[in-house]
């Protein structure tokens, strides 16, 4: 793996008082004063590295990457459909990777088409809505023998995913197929009561492992995200290489040279100053779904009741996804004129913005109407560029702090960098907020209630719920 530098750059100019004014901007001295806390956080994070926190070690696992590539090559040979069954951290990374790096209309392209789809169709089913399940069945009807299912659950017992597994296994058997030929299990064998792993062993499924020290929302660079990526034809070594470069950048002890530390510090200072809403707004259709992955990472890691000293803190910024330029015609009105409670992170993709690049498209080759002549001679890239700059300046002039993350292109490499960047940033944020960024105890109550309502032994439904449920039948 070449030790290349990071391509991603963080531009924080528009968060400072000299850009957005004293009232809503940050004094550079305030940020500098965070150095000690960031150094301490750095020590804590690196101290846990490879022990109970493993996300930053994932790019080093060449052996797993090789095994995934071989499995993917085999799947690409016989599959018409590759279906991810998972939810939360088992789905959102896959959706982000697929949306970013495959053709925007991947599943629609015929295999012999000029755009040459060389990979199976890819589906990520991250809900248990019966209408969705029924519709999916209709869509792959007649192709079950050429459909592979990647069942992803770290615990091996997630109710939604296990339901989907039971359904699919039954479906395959009823159609005369051997589930072992179609099912790939991605799970953590070290989890207690991992039913799925036991079944996979017993029934001989191909199994990929999620390291025990990597939580669901940090797992996109493990087998969780890599198998689907490789099946789609994405160069996973490049993705890991980008992530490794970012790991090197973010494990430096000097906070000022660490973009994740700087980013975390800025957002935390704004949180303390009454700006608890953090918006992620990529100016790239391909990165639109990265926001969903980011929202989980941010919300689940930092939205916590318990502080590190077992105190009640009830903290956490609220992440919000937005799409540039699209949402300039939607939520942007609120971002620019509403309460001063937000910080906006823009993602800029240089390749999309420069006229004349390979992927740019000219708006119009002929002359046009007078009123539209400002558009006619240009490209979509130039328009996108003008809109991004305009938004950045309008936010600034309206005293709305904003940052820009700049990448040269949407590629496997830069996506790997982005994943690692945000994962480090949330790890630093956890230290600043004084919470454990790596657990998610808040959703346990809902799970218990679900078990109780489904009649699982040892669980009880909550007061009112059973009554409500009887009414609904």
């Amino acid at each position: 793996m070449a030790r290349e530098r990071c391509a991603l750059a963080l531009d924080p100019a528009n968060v400072f008082a000299d850009a957005v004014g004293e009232k809503h901007g940050l004094q550079r001295a305030r940020l500098d004063a965070m150095a000690d806390r960031l150094a301490e956080a750095h020590g804590l994070i690196q101290g846990r590295r490879g022990k109970d926190v493993g996300f930053m070690e994932l790019p080093r696992d060449q052996e797993t990457a090789g095994r995934i590539k071989r499995k993917a090559a085999e799947l690409r040979n016989w599959c018409a459909n590759f279906v991810v069954l998972g939810i939360g951290g088992s789905a959102l990374g896959n959706i982000a990777v697929h949306s970013a790096l495959n053709h925007p209309f991947h599943n629609l392209l015929p295999t012999g088409h000029p755009a040459r789809r060389r990979a199976p169709r890819i589906f990520v089913l991250d809900n248990v809505d019966p209408a969705l399940m029924a519709a999916f069945l209709e869509t792959v009807e007649g192709e079950l023998d050429r459909t592979a299912f990647n069942i992803i659950t770290k615990s091996g017992s997630t109710a939604e995913t296990m339901s989907q597994f039971l359904f699919v296994r039954d479906l395959l058997r009823r159609n005369g197929q051997d589930p072992a030929d179609h099912i790939i299990v991605t799970t953590d064998p070290l989890e207690k009561n991992n039913v799925l792993h036991a079944i996979a062993e017993r029934e001989g499924y191909f199994t990929l492992t999620i390291p025990h020290n990597v939580g669901g929302r940090f797992s996109v660079l493990s087998a969780v995200g890599l198998l689907g990526a490789a099946v789609g034809g994405i160069d996973i070594s490049e993705m890991l290489s980008g992530a490794a470069a970012m790991d090197r950048q973010c494990s430096q002890s000097d906070p000022a040279a660490n973009p994740a530390a700087v980013y975390a510090a800025i957002l935390h200072l704004f949180y303390q100053r009454g700006k608890p809403i953090t918006v992620l707004m990529p100016y790239s259709s391909a990165l639109r779904r990265l926001s969903d992955w980011y929202c989980q990472l941010w919300a689940e890691s930092l939205g916590k009741r318990d502080g590190l000293r077992a105190n009640d803190v009830f903290v956490g910024p609220t992440p919000v996804g937005a799409a540039g330029v699209t949402d300039q015609h939607s939520v942007m009105q609120l971002f620019q004129d509403g309460p001063f409670d937000k910080v906006v992170t823009l993602i800029e993709v240089e390749q999309l913005l420069r006229a004349g690049r390979a992927r740019d498209v000219r708006i119009c080759r002929r002359k046009s109407e007078e009123e539209l002549s400002y558009l006619a001679g240009s490209t979509f890239g130039e328009l996108l560029s003008a809109e991004l700059t305009a938004t950045r300046c309008a936010l600034r002039d309206k005293q709305r702090p904003n940052l820009t993350l700049r990448v040269p292109a949407v590629s496997a490499r830069t996506l790997g960098e982005l994943f690692m960047f945000f994962e480090y940033a949330v790890a630093f944020s956890g230290c600043l907020y004084g919470v454990n960024a790596f657990d998610q105890p808040g959703v346990e109550l809902g799970k218990k209630y679900t078990y109780g309502l489904m009649g699982r032994e040892g669980y009880e439904a909550p007061e009112g719920a059973r009554r409500e449920r009887r009414g609904a039948r």
Copy 2:
């Protein structure tokens, strides 16, 4: 149109102090005390009805509906692809309708398929990303002669949509097609400097009208949303009929009988008590994209700098979309354990939740492993139902106010009701926040900057922007 009652019901039980506690719950008396303000708001809204505010009149326009149906029938005869080119209010309603009422994998279904797609493929291109435009071209390559483009912009001058228009017109001409055979324009001829309308007249395009008193984000029940719906085979009369029923419900003078007024009042009281984030969480995959439409409606209508007395107010709740059950494994951790700054609106679809209904799917017909036996005997509908109830109870028990909007099914009729409900709710909210819910002045600055950067005559780029832009070239 039959004068049927509304099917949608609002269940606010979990916002009150007796459910979520004194500290975070509402006293019923506080809500009752809003009666006068709501009556005043009712008067204001109905006083503008059909004058400068027209959204509630849209269901009555049978003539336009008839014209749209005829045009749609013609398009369904010859089109392989129906493409909406629009942004913001011209796109989000179309996306919501298509996602809710057409097959979840509509574009993938072959026309002779058992699930019987009888409509063209439907695309909504709401961005100017060159990569997206290029990919779209690849996808419809060879089918341009069977592709129709619906250009939607109320002003007839939106930079993004006009670029797309110029591009498509040029593309059609270069391919020997007459643009007038392929382009349908949906616009407001009464807008000043409506270039698109002038072109449409000159070049003989089929044109549909957006009423002058209906703003973009309120236009889904006008030709903006109806043509695409009808092309997809959706019964637009049913949708309008549902909306009409909701209009009757929400134009009653008694606030207590008006679900939109009650909803607006509850959310406003919570906003004043430090809960400025409003989450919309449908427990239905089909309604997942309704949240994007809702976010625009809410953010653009209420996120305002100017109060009604020309004072600076900088108000507005922040709308956030979430998906049930999916986001129980994502942002739900924050909603349940983070700051007490949110109110969650759940959407419950009764048809999906009841076991044994036509669209339900059994998880597994055979016996399963002991640990999974609580799932094996059930259906996905039962699991979805248990999870919704569990979430509602967990939110309640964690003192998080939440409301439920209940509809019997996801249908053209209930979707029409939902649109009208939220539109009324935001109109009432505008009165309570003391802002004009029907303008969007905040995004003008960014538009001016974009024009300046694109070299449009009479506009200037902002300080710093031109320098930045030169640097990027």
